[in-house]
Structures are given as structure tokens and as C-alpha cells.
Symmetry: C2
Subunit: 448 residues, 2 copies
Amino acid sequence: MNVSPQHSPEPAAAADIPASAPGTRLDPWLSHYAERTYGMKASEIRALFAVANRPEVVSLAGGMPFLAGLPLETISEVTAKLLSERGAVALQYGSGQGEESFREQILEVMREEHIRAHADDVIVTTGSQQALDLVTRIFVDPGDVVVAEAPSYVGALGVFRSYQADVVHVPMDANGLVPEALEHTLSELAAEGRTVKLLYTVPNFHNPGGVTLSAERRPQIVEIAQRYGVLILEDNPYGLLGFDSDPLPALHTYDPDGVIYLGSFSKTFAPGYRVGWAVAPHAVRERLVLAAESAILCPSMMSQMSISTYLATCDWRGQVKEFREVYRERRDAMVSALAEYLPMASWTNPAGGFYTWVRLPEGLDAQDMLPRAVTELVAYVPGTAFYADDQGKQFMRLSYCYPTAERIREGVRRLAGVVTSELELVQMFGTSGTTGGRGVHAPAPDQN
Amino acid sequence: MNVSPQHSPEPAAAADIPASAPGTRLDPWLSHYAERTYGMKASEIRALFAVANRPEVVSLAGGMPFLAGLPLETISEVTAKLLSERGAVALQYGSGQGEESFREQILEVMREEHIRAHADDVIVTTGSQQALDLVTRIFVDPGDVVVAEAPSYVGALGVFRSYQADVVHVPMDANGLVPEALEHTLSELAAEGRTVKLLYTVPNFHNPGGVTLSAERRPQIVEIAQRYGVLILEDNPYGLLGFDSDPLPALHTYDPDGVIYLGSFSKTFAPGYRVGWAVAPHAVRERLVLAAESAILCPSMMSQMSISTYLATCDWRGQVKEFREVYRERRDAMVSALAEYLPMASWTNPAGGFYTWVRLPEGLDAQDMLPRAVTELVAYVPGTAFYADDQGKQFMRLSYCYPTAERIREGVRRLAGVVTSELELVQMFGTSGTTGGRGVHAPAPDQN
């Protein structure tokens, strides 16, 4: 049976499977795998996701962007023109780094966030996930440390694990990564003689934390990383999807030689093309291109030229603005439903992006609760997926990007029913003893 | 300056660069790279390729398929329909393994070569290059041995090197990989206590060798690999492009549990979508999907659905037949031009695919000769690119897939001029002492 989630926007979440996973016992090549392969783990919530994709389930789990708002007729027309006029180029191999004219357009997109770079230092990748993979590939030896926020993006944790990195988490608060905590962690790691290769961070509308690194902390974080000689890996898929104000300066703007910046068209246009990019210091970019050529030869010309045509002929800025409005409305629906139905929990109030991070009442375990939630026709991602260690039990990530406002309300209502019955059990039989762990300390609900 | 080759169909070829490569000296992160990164090498022929892509140069170097024959108007129409009718699905995230209905169509394509598999055991990749990368990722630890033909595909050698494998070459002759030589090598490696993880082979219309593994040798190769417990990685991008007869049975047909089979749409349809696939034993496929999700989340839905639509609505079998005719005509132009202009060399006479492998007269070095050839407006890939060791100096790969028959003749004529002057130099000053190495022992020209 194929239990792969259809339309899964993220790789398998980070929960362990027992060694007796289906099929493994019969694997004639079991003794032949590379050591790194034993760190690649299927998710125990995978099977549940297959169920969660049934239409009767309200999925607050996925990170699929809302695409129904795209001008599909226009995209269809310009793509048809592209193929009939330049099809022999669009369907051919391209350069490993990506097309130069397209990289120029990427600079334009980044200028919306005041990021300055040169087209030579941009490399087009198969989604920004591939950029994560390539950066890790060229920098991380087994046993090296990657410092990441607590919690952190599940797909990045999967990459770090697959290169046998040790992820060390640093706490966030409502203003993002805490500089003092970062300094403390880096100083401890230095004292232990550990090699820290990367600081991985999602400064804007954090996935899953739902918080944004404040303006005053940005230069502080960069300064600390510089002082400890740690390269920053700045992952910014949601930067243009802020609801309230103009984007804050990227970490890259403070130190282009000390930051590798990752961008993506998956959230501002469409993930189906699989196009993202990295901006890297020049010498690093050369290595990234070599690694990319080894991994895929070159990114899809058809994807690059399709997006290039869209950027050149459609009002992409207007479209991003429309997306922002849709997601703002859904964020509003999410937080008001949480306040109404789940006052016993707390959560972050995201100023952009796709996700809120919810802390359950003491004694509840989001992972244990998931099967019951799915039975009640609502799905989410348990917090444990977003930690490289065993933190996060008391948390869950709720996404508001895909379902309508009405469905979001209904989903939270169902969730509240599950939480209430779980709480009754806890009150009857005592707490399970799990108490969350480090993570985003969400403001109390009345602050939302 | 950007010296990446435009439309390069292959990653950087395998020649070393000195440590003082441009930019490297100024790299502030030089001490931070992973160990594997030092094995990723830029090609010294890269800069030449930038020149070789000028229109006045006849490039017999690239592996770009001939796309002008594609029905671009029809492709344009069906793609427009796809986007306007199913755009919200085509532009969304998909499953990590690839769409099930598309995997069913891949089974159909493989049935043309009598390969039997189940859709569950197919994984869609970003070109078959990504499949090479993922297979190597899950199996190869640093220091493990990969056995490969001599010569072997430059892109595969790059992948193996980037995972710090030791490639051990086994000779081919006009009938492909030599079973006795394989047995001898595996037995030696076993005696040395080496861990052999993969036998990498391109059985049909070898790149760059231009030879095909004979029917009688196929079960022998499989039996030897079985006996030594070595997994076969069968790379078959050209299988449907045979000029003379029906495809021979894939190695996969002899032992589906002992072979990972790689296919691609890049040569039979179009490389610009970057879609290939792997067929793997079930348990291995599970690992491959995890590795793929970590690397790119999922393959492009738009690419998959575009090719799916093409397969469903166009006469793709007729198109492959047309491609075959074009390439046959160009192969004929190539071998007759070689016979006319380069009787002092020898070469393989490919029964399909894109390439012939040419042995230069004693004393010539194809790599040394390349700058002069490019000055004379003809380009090729020197044989050294196709070996993990220092073999191949006397060889070159000539490709006939992209230029017209007339341009091929002109290119070989120019090449003959270069070879003739080089030979005069050698006769005046003595041979350079380089004598080729193991490799395809091409039949004498009169046999072609």
C-alpha cells in the first residue's frame, strides 16, 4: 500500500520509526546502506496524513499555498506562447547555475525586501529545499553542529539529519531567536570544542513558530555569528507575505559575506514548478554550482522560463498583495477561533506567513492526541516534528494557508472538542508528565 | 565573469583544477567546507566550453538532444489546456515519490523495453541525474568502492566522487563490459577486503563508449554481481534510441531484486522538464523516497503533468521513431566523415544513442589538443573526463546528437586538420609518451 501523502508540502516529519518498519525486515540490501541512511526516518504521522488528506478532514497540518487565486487563464496563455515561440530552448538543458536573465529577475524580487546582490551570486535550485540540501552538503561533515531555532523547519531538520549533523536548538521568544541564548549556546559549544558550521534561521513569519525576528535583534544575531565565525543560513520563503508592515531588513543585508540567503517562488507564486534560489558569497556560490550540477545537472529550463514569463508579463506584485490579503483573513479566522474555542491553550499571533504555534494546556501531548483528532476529522502537525531532540510534546503547528476561513473555524472547533476530552482524561488520571520543553513561549491568549 | 556553459548537458567534466582556481583564494569560508566538497572539482574545459558554445564552433562535445523535431505547437496547446483546466493541481506541491498515474505511464514506456515493474516501485526524480545522486547517497559511505565501466559517464563519476567513493574501472570491448574482467576485479577487491557497493553500468549505447552490452553477456554480468553481492545500478537513458534492432533485455529483467534501474525522458522527449525515474527493490525504494523528500520535497508537478499529458495525447512512440531516424542519419554522417578524414584514428560504431568514442593515433593527447581544436572552431570532450583515474588521454568523445549531418562532416574535417598538425609535431619531436590506457578497444576503421 502506498501511504505517501498526496500533495505533501513537507518531507516526512521527524518522528522515529521502530526498526521493524514495514518492508525493512525483508530488505535484501539492509546491510549495504550508507551510514547516513540510518538517519533518514519515515514519519509515524505519514499514515495519518494519508487519512488527513480525505476531504472530510479539516487539515490544519499542511503548508500548501492557496493557488485558486492565481490567474490560471493568463498563465495558460503566456505558457502556450512560450512553448510555441521558444519551446526548443525551454525544453532543452540549461546552465547549472540557472539562466542569467532569470537570475536578474530574482534580484528584482529580492529588491522588494531591500536585498542587494549580483546575478552572478544567485543560483537557481529545485525549490529552496534543494538549496538547503546543497548548502548542507558542501559544509557539513558528520558530527558537525548546526544551530537552529527551537522549534525549527521540519524539512531543514531532515536535511541536517541526513548529513549526520548534530542540531543544537536555541530558544525563541515572541521576537524570534533570542540573542543572549544564541551567544550562550555558541560559547558553550566553543568551550566543548565543537565545530559549528551553520546557524539556520527563518527570521520572517517562522515555520512553525509564527514569530518574526525583531528589527533590533537582526544586527545582534549577525554580530554574534560573525564573532563566532559561524555562517548564517537565512531561509526566507515567506518574507513578502507580511500582513501589517513592510519587510524588515534581511540578515543578508548586514553581512553578505557571512550569510547564505534562500528564497523561493513556492509561496509567492506556485510550488509546482519547484523553483527556489540561494544567494551566496562568490566563492561559496562556485561550490554550490558544482554540487548542484552533480545533483541534477541543471534546474528545469521550462520551470525557469515559465516563472520568468509570469514575472515579466503578469502583475506579480499585485498577486502577492492578493495572497497577503487571503492569508491575513485566514490568520484572523485562526486566532479568533482559537480565542473562542481554545482559551485553555496559548499561541503565537503571526504577522505574516502560514503558521501559528500552539501550546496545549499542561499535561497534554500533541503527538498522542493526533489519532483522536484525525478521528474527529481535524489534523495538525505535532510539535515534536520540529525538534531534533525530544522537545515539543505540548505544542502543535496549525496552518491557516490552505483551508477557507470557515473551514479553519470548524477545524479549531473540532480540535477544541478533542482537547476538552483529553483534558478530562488528564484531570481524571493525572498529567502525563510531559511539559513541553524549550520553544516559543507564546503570549497568553488575551494578548492575541 | 560567468563561465558556466550555457545549455551544458553534463556537469563539469572530471579534470582537476589547481587549488588556486579563481575566487578560491579569497574565500572566507575556505576552512569550513565539508570534506566531500574538496572532491567536487570544476572542469578546466569549462572555460573552453563557454567558447565552444559560440555559433561558429562546431560542437561535437555536448549531449543536447535534437528538439527542433518536437511538435511544439501541439505541446503548447495541450499544456495550455492542462494549465487552464488543472492548473491549481499542476502548480501545487505533489507527493515525494511522484504522481501515481504518471508512474503508471512510466511503466508503459518501460514496457517498450520489456521491463516489468510495479508503479509502487517507481520513483520520479529531477532527471535521472538526481536518481544517481540519491542512490549513491543512500548506499555509499566514504571509501566504499563503486565499480564502473572504463570509460564511464562523466556525470556519474562526479556523483561518486562527491560521496567520496573510490571508483574502480573495468574494461569494455566492442560488446560492452567484459564479464571476465568484472569477475577478476570483484575477486581482487574481495581479496583486498574492500566494500563494493554498486556496479554502475550503461548497457545500451554507452556514454561515452558508444558500445552496447551484448545479449549473451547480460545474464553473465547479473550472475557475477549476484555472486559477489553487488547491487547493479543500470543507467539507461538511450535504450529506446537504437538504430538497428529491438532493445535487448535490461539487466533489471534478469534480477529485479538486484538491480536499480534508471530511466529518463531527457533523450526520448525533452530534458527541459528535468524528469527521470528509478525503479528499485521495494525496501530500497522506501529509502530513496525519504532521501528524495529530504533533497527536494517532491518532483515538479507541472513537469510531471506536462509529460503525462504529452504521453497521453501525442504520438510519443512515433516521435521516438523520428528521433531514431535523425540520430541514425547523424551517426552515419559521423562515421563516414571519420573514415574519410580521420583514417589514422579508430572509433566505435554506435548502434544507437548519441556518442562515438575515438582513439587518436599514438602519441596524441586529446586534452592537450583541445585548445587548438577550439581555435580551429571544433569542440569535443577529451577522454580523461570519463575516468576516475588518469586514463583516457588518447581518447575523445564525439557526439552527433545535436549538429546537422553537414555540420558534423565539417566538424570532423576541422578536427582532422588539428590531428594532422599535431601528428606532424609528434613526428618531429617524438611522442608525448601517453598511451591511452584501458578503455574501449575500438575496432579498426575499416570495420566501421
